[in-house]
């Protein structure tokens, strides 16, 4: 079986999961060892870990929209310590390299997280979720080129592991942020995260979601993801992980043609837990008959 190389990590195919859209530990409880025997992703990206434990947003957390959904999950997680103690040992057993997604509300918090995971050989790479405000500057870390550069300057020296920066689509100029991230030492970039959206309770007229607003994902955002991946691909030359509304090998091929090296599947796994495998197979079939090269 041929493998591909992503930042020095050998992968069996180009399909991984989007952070926060597949919990391998929970799925193991639901599906048993069949999950491990037929693991759908070439690498596993864990849900965002923060320094302190978080409960996440109050329910309701979900709303269905035309061709997609909004979530206001609010990044519930056990915090760094809980993750290291309970989750990491189990995730290390998965038949796929582990990418840990982390988020901090200050640069120092991110630095602490990066340092902690840098020491763990179970971790193949780190993904930085920069879709939250830096509480010290008030700016969303991933929406501003200077913010993202300052963050990377702080954390890049702390680890030799690949640092993937997960860009937010809610930015005026995603390509400028991407290019700043590359210059400041990002190993790779992933995009898109969810788009800010809202829903109202049809009965009361007040916000449906416990978090008031949430993030839109699914096919509804696919064309937006494709445009952003293409723009970032033109502005950078480090590896890209494309995602946003991928449901088929055709959608994955589009992202690859737009410049992605890997493709992540998020919302589609909710509809079909083995979507990752299906999409990888469909993509492989398409790649046998099509040139994935950018033709413009």
């Amino acid at each position: 079986m041929t493998t591909l190389d992503f930042c020095g990590i050998a992968l069996e195919h180009p399909i991984i999961n989007g952070s926060g859209t597949f919990d391998a530990i929970a799925a193991h409880r639901a599906f048993g060892d069949e999950l491990l025997e037929r693991f759908p992703f070439a690498a596993f990206v864990s849900k965002t870990v923060t320094l302190e434990p978080r409960q996440g947003n109050p329910p309701p957390r979900l709303w269905e929209v035309p061709a997609g959904m909004i979530n206001s999950i609010g990044l519930p997680n056990k915090g760094l310590e809980g993750y290291l103690a309970e989750d990491l040992p189990r995730l290390a057993q998965l038949p796929a390299p582990l990418i840990v997604n982390v988020m901090g509300f200050t640069r120092e918090q991110v630095a602490e997280l990066v340092t902690a995971f840098s020491a763990r050989e179970e971790v193949a790479a780190l993904e930085l979720n920069v879709s939250c405000p830096n509480v010290e500057t008030g700016l969303v870390m991933g929406a501003d080129p200077d913010e993202v550069a300052a963050l990377l300057e702080r954390v890049r020296p702390l680890t030799d592991k690949p640092l993937i920066v997960k860009l937010t689509p809610n930015a005026s100029d995603v390509a400028a942020v991407a290019s700043a991230a590359q210059q400041a030492g990002a190993s790779a970039l992933s995009l898109i995260n969810t788009l800010r959206g809202m829903a109202l309770d049809p009965r009361s007229g007040s916000p449906w979601l416990g978090g008031t607003t949430g993030g839109v994902s699914g096919p509804a955002v696919r064309a937006i993801a494709l445009a952003q991946v293409q723009a970032v691909s033109q502005a950078t030359n480090i590896p890209l992980i494309g995602m946003g509304g991928v449901q088929s090998g055709r959608d994955a091929l589009d992202l690859i043609r737009a410049g992605a090296d890997l493709v992540a599947v998020g919302t589609e796994s909710f509809r079909d837990p083995v979507a990752g495998s299906r999409i990888a197979a469909e993509l492989a079939a398409l790649l046998q008959t099509t040139e994935p090269v950018k033709t413009w």
Partner: protein
Amino acid sequence: MSGDRTQAPFGRRSAAITAHEDHGAYVVLRCSDPAGPRPQAGQFYMLSSATRWGGGENERPFLPRAFSVLRAEHRELHFLIEDVGPGTKRLCELRPGDDLLLVGPLGTGFVSPREGRAPLLVGGGVGIAPLAIWQDELGGQAPALLGFRDAAHAAGAVLLAAPRVATDDGSVGHHGLVTELMTERLDADDHVEVYACGPPAMLEAVRELCARRDVPAQLALESGMACGFGACFGCVVPTRHGLIRLCLEGPVLDAAVLETAVVAGAGH
């Protein structure tokens, strides 16, 4: 609950519809599921139709929908469905020859009554579904108290053995709430363990009644779900131990872990 769950085959499989039955306001769909395990009472499946899932009211449904298993016999699964929106509407259209897509069985099931206690089943509306299979597993004798809005809904009562029925409008059985029937029962004999499923307000009334009388209860809750297998963290409900994913730790919960059975965003 605490019992070992029956695990689902990994993936989404297609299941041919073998029967569509109308029961007043409800539809019973049967499908053949030769590849799936026998589910536990209280477990659920994520369902969608193999074709035309999408394109309904407001371009929905998009995500699969959660349904308790009503019965599982002869490698067939039965589901009880009430048309309340685009997803259930589409499922209610299915007929033999159509295919369901399903993932499951998922979540936790009911567990046997504690030592010295007899089961008492209390259901409201479409929430009678998991009680039907549970009554079967308990030997078919467990008393069932069922509450419905009106006669059209009370038509679903035939799905359980020897039910006592209450309707809001008095058109069938007791005129009033099912919890009134339940109080009567508990007054007569409260050495029972209650198994309840129904709308949030009913479940909350059951929870409170049981708590007040120190009667153990297992409640099958609902909440909005995207995945059903713990992937999205969307289905959380508040418990005394914090928010838990209902699809993973439930849908059957021991009433003792709940401060309330009312879940924001659940029910119609």
